[in-house]
């Protein structure tokens, strides 16, 4: 009986079909390869029934029901292509086209036009009426062709809407819009970002955010999901506009944060023209953030990519051949002792590169002086952060969580696929509690937004820890010092919620990481997690932080995460690598890299700001872009970007995922590992005879557990196992930092974390500079009014340490008496939070 209930028998165009109950007529037809034209229907979205293209005849039903909204029923007899249905469709399509520029669709000379397009021409490739960026990929064109509409009987009405080009990454020409509502449903149902809505009604209907706001102002995440589903050319990606269809795609892993989304690189010829989310249920499930969706193309395709090696001689740039570059590097490095050598590598390189870099330092130079830039990012909180990674939970835990505690997490531009999961969780009834000092993407949707005054986060978290202790001691009222009584009561309710369920997940974002008290904050998170038995997801900002630990790209760590002071391990490695590796000297890396001692040789993989690296006599820079300024290195070597190499990343959850080569590197650029191998071999070092990343991977798998198949990595979420401990400096803490009469404001700073190979995305990606603009100071609107400051005024911020001038931005949600500024990596204003005073410039 139940089986019978699952299937129904229907008849479509005289074919008897057995289909699943619950499908719509459209779905049933599509699964049986019967074509029904559609414009507003989309497989990922709920049926809308707006375009009326999919009308069909159903025996016994009045009129023409739409196939996309009508569920199949037992014994239904459906006709999809009767003369009357086709005539109706044509009529409706003509009505749609009467508000859509259609010379690319309907033209007497359309067929001949194609022939002339091949002739000699003076202007680019634009011959014929090619004014729509979606020409050739347009669903409207397809439907017009299928329905054979040859002319329009209605007067054409052009809406004269302004083409909206004022947002980064995509343009909007709503004159081409057919109001199918796909973008809105995408934004509301799948992304739940709710930026788009139908505005007005009838013939005045337009799509967009409230009032005439730009998408940037309206809180758009720039995930690009709307652009992907638009059936016309109304929404178009700026960079990709006239590139047309891709020839092929390559699935790879995004290197722009620790989530590790799977992206599908769109390749045309030898160029990456776009990146789209890959349908991969494990991590991002068909979603991406602005970085993966829009930044990748520009990042790897910028014309300023480094194409050949050069050296800087007497202040001039001298292009050289690889042979000379390798020789020069080898000569300089051979003359350098291990003590005088240093190498820095950002943790968004592939495992294979990270492994080879540390092997290079340890074998070819006999030095442990290899470090990643993660150390200066996490500073004194690094070990505690690693502890959180040791108790790391998989992202999939979010699907079962009933309470999700987000600490310092903003999912608007970074980690926005996590934001999508959070909103899904809300929809199924989960509670979101967000601890964040400023207005952020979760402040509207969270059940509770706890806004700590800067500097009180530790006592806030400590009282949460106390309140969630299994055996509460004595006092019922928590001693919530300095966090205010009302907040204290709020915390009690939060603690109750946290204790009341077993399925709690804690997400840790980056907001509090640059704080002076980050070790204490992270430690409190750890204790809180233990108290309530919650899973922790640290969501690192670096795509391969996990891998950098396992590859041993730190002085204190060996491959596998073992400690460098472990003599047995060193001995094992000596045998394995057949080389003399020194024991870690007492002069640990910390001194080498921050004592200010001048090194003889410094090797930078990627970019590292000058004040985060030791001074050196000779500087080798290996990157995909020239250093800024161009003479910022003595020898500059061009390397390949992640789209041009094979390799693996380990994401924040511990999944090993593949990076796949899509195109060749530009010019003479080479993969990072290959450059290192060539230099090492020139220096006479053994064990660098690798001819591919796969061979390096094989060597890694003989040293590190869990590194297996290169082609099909296990992709299993695992917690970090790392025996070694990093030596971290304690951040100098200048006592309690509170605002006083002299310095009435508390300034907090956060860092631009959107980096690739150490440089901020905004340097080489135009749109990114609009989204991730550093150096703007956020002020509470009322505070600003009192100080006579208005939007974009230059504000002088003074403390006992520094004086800086930044443009102001009014934010009504910024807590009174606080300021916030985002800094570039390498910039620093001293303690964080920091008491300051402000004044308007030139007043």
């Amino acid at each position: 009986m139940s089986k019978q209930n699952e299937k129904v028998t229907i008849n479509i165009d005289n074919q008897v079909l057995e289909v699943k109950r619950g499908l719509t007529i459209l779905q049933a037809a599509e699964r049986n390869n019967i074509y029904i034209p559609t414009l507003c229907a989309h497989q990922d979205l709920t049926p809308f029934g707006g375009c009326r293209m999919c009308i069909v005849e159903v025996e016994g039903m009045r009129g023409f029901p739409t196939a996309c909204t009508t569920p199949v029923e037992e014994g239904m007899v459906i006709r999809t292509h009767t003369a009357q249905v086709q005539a109706e469709r044509k009529e409706i399509l003509q009505l749609i086209l009467s508000e859509h520029t259609s010379s690319c669709l309907i033209c007497d000379e359309k067929d001949e036009c194609k022939e002339y397009m091949g002739t000699i021409r003076k202007a680019g490739v634009i011959t014929g009426c090619r004014y729509c960026p979606n020409d050739g990929q347009c669903e409207l064109q397809e439907v017009v062709e299928r329905l054979e509409v040859k002319e329009i009987d209605y007067p054409v009405y052009y809406r004269h809407l302004r083409v909206e080009k004022d947002d980064p990454f995509y343009d909007r020409d709503y004159n081409l819009c057919i109001l199918c509502g796909r973008c809105i449903r995408m934004c509301q149902e799948i992304r739940t970002a709710n930026t788009l809505a139908f505005k007005q009604r009838g013939r005045y209907t337009v799509i967009g955010p409230a009032y005439d706001r730009t998408h940037l102002e309206a809180g758009c995440e720039f995930c690009g999901a709307c652009v992907s589903v638009c059936p016309t050319g109304a929404l178009s990606e700026k960079v990709r506009k006239w590139d047309g269809k891709a020839d092929r795609e390559e699935i790879t892993t995004c290197p722009l944060c620790g989530v590790g989304c799977q992206i599908s690189l769109q390749v045309k010829g030898e160029e990456v023209i776009g990146s789209l989310p890959a349908e991969d249920p494990m991590v991002n499930n068909g979603q991406l953030c602005v970085k993966g969706r829009f930044c990748v193309t520009e990042l790897v395709g910028n014309y300023q990519r480094l194409r050949r090696p050069y050296k800087v001689q007497n202040g001039t740039k001298v292009d050289i051949f690889w042979e000379e570059a390798i020789e020069l590097a080898a000569e300089k490095l051979s003359a350098c002792s291990g003590e005088d050598f240093g190498m820095l590598i950002p943790p968004n390189f592939c495992n294979e590169d990270l492994y080879l870099a540390q092997k290079f330092a340890r074998v070819a130079l006999g030095s442990h002086n290899i470090d990643t830039t993660a150390r200066s990012f996490y500073e004194s909180g690094f070990n505690t952060y690693l502890d959180l990674m040791r108790m790391g939970a998989p992202l999939s835990d979010l699907q079962e969580a009933s309470v999700i505690l987000c600490i310092g997490l903003d999912t608007r531009f970074g980690r926005s696929v996590v934001g999508v999961e959070l909103r899904k969780a809300i929809a199924r009834g989960a509670k979101i509690i967000s601890i964040h000092p400023r207005h952020h993407s979760l402040s509207v949707i969270a059940d509770k937004w706890i806004q700590p005054v800067p500097g009180t986060e530790v006592s806030l978290l400590h009282s949460l820890v106390r309140l969630t202790e299994k055996k509460r001691t004595g006092t019922t009222r928590s001693k919530s010092k300095g966090i205010g009584e009302s907040l204290g009561d709020e915390l009690a309710t939060v603690a109750k919620t946290l204790k009341g369920t077993s399925a709690v997940v804690i997400l840790v974002g980056s907001e509090f990481l640059p704080y002076d008290q980050s070790p204490q904050i992270l430690e409190a998170i750890e204790r809180l997690a233990r108290n309530i038995g919650a899973g922790v997801l640290p969501l690192p900002a670096q795509s391969n932080l996990f891998g950098s630990i396992l590859m041993g790209a730190y002085p204190e760590l060996l491959p596998g995460g073992f400690s460098s002071t472990d003599k047995k391990r060193i001995a094992g490695l000596r045998k394995k690598w057949n080389a003399d590796i020194p024991h870690l000297s007492s002069r640990s890396n910390k001194e080498i890299f921050s004592s200010g001692k001048r090194l003889k040789m410094l090797y930078l993989m990627g970019e590292v700001p000058p004040n985060l690296r030791p001074p050196s006599e000779f500087l080798i820079v290996q990157n995909i872009y020239p250093p800024v300024p161009w003479d910022g290195g003595d020898l500059v070597l061009p390397s390949a970007a992640f789209t041009e190499v094979d390799g693996t990343f380990i994401n924040g959850e511990g999944r090993i995922q593949r990076v796949r080569k899509a195109v060749d590197p530009p010019g003479e650029a080479l993969p990072d590992w290959e450059i290192l191998c060539r230099i090492a071999k020139k220096m006479g070092a053994k064990g660098f005879d690798f001819s591919s990343a796969r061979e390096i991977h094989e060597e890694i798998s003989s040293l590190v557990k869990g590194f297996g198949d290169f082609d099909n990595p296990a992709r299993k979420a695992t917690s970090l196992t790392c025996e070694g401990e990093l030596t971290v400096s304690q951040r100098r803490s200048s006592g309690t930092k509170k605002a006083d009469k002299k310095l009435p404001f508390l300034l907090t700073t956060s860092m631009v974390e959107h980096t690739y190979r150490g440089f901020p995305l905004s340097t080489w990606v135009e749109g990114a500079s609009a989204l991730f603009a550093p150096g703007v100071v956020d002020i509470n609107s009322e505070d600003a009014k009192k100080a006579g400051i208005s939007e974009r005024d230059e504000v002088v911020v003074t403390s006992s340490h520094f004086e800086k001038t930044w443009p102001a931005r009014m934010v009504s949600e910024q807590p009174k008496g606080t300021l916030h500024v985002t800094l570039l990596r390498g910039e620093s204003v001293g303690p964080n939070p920091h008491p300051v005073k402000i004044r308007k410039k030139n007043v």
Binding site: A193, N194, G208, P209, A210, Y211, G219, V444
Partner: protein, 155 residues
């Protein structure tokens, strides 16, 4: 500054009568409009926080209904009738003339807050078409030529 804090109090008072549920959006919008005469950006922001619906969605819903306005009403309000009889007798032309004269579209308020403009479906005196109403005064058998003279009467 003062006016705004009054608004917020009003809003809090209005919210206190509702649960934080999506379905309460339209009744809340109606109450706000009743109280303040229009729906301000600030009000939309606060409703968004209260109902946990984005400002964009709220604006989308509100702008669908002609009963909601987004500009503070002017000192004088003009209603141009576009009912069947007025339409036939040139109501549309009259409306366009007002729009041109005041440089606003229906639903908007002039910059100097002197007038706001609305289109209505019928004022109930079809025999006198075309009709416009300014505040409580009805002007019947209107012509474009008479328009400027009449508008000048209102400050």
């Amino acid at each position: 500054m003062k006016e705004r804090s009054v608004t917020n109090k009003d809003l809090i008072h209005i919210f206190s009568g509702f649960k934080s549920e999506e379905g309460n959006l339209i009744p809340i919008l109606q109450r706000v409009q009743e109280k303040r005469g229009y729906i301000s950006e600030e009000a939309i922001k606060r409703i968004s926080r209260f109902l946990k619906i984005s400002e964009n969605q709220i604006f989308g819903v509100a702008s669908f209904y002609s009963q909601f306005r987004f500009d503070a009403p002017g000192r004088n309000s003009i209603k141009v009738c576009l009912g069947t009889a007025c339409h036939v007798r040139g109501g549309q032309i009259l409306c366009e003339a007002v729009e041109r004269e005041l440089d606003i579209s229906p639903g908007q308020t002039t910059k100097d807050k002197r007038f706001d403009l609305e289109r209505v479906a019928c004022l109930g005196c079809c025999a006198l078409a075309p009709v416009i109403q300014i505040n409580d005064d009805i002007y019947s058998r209107m012509t474009v030529i008479r328009l400027k003279e009449i508008l000048d009467k209102y400050e």
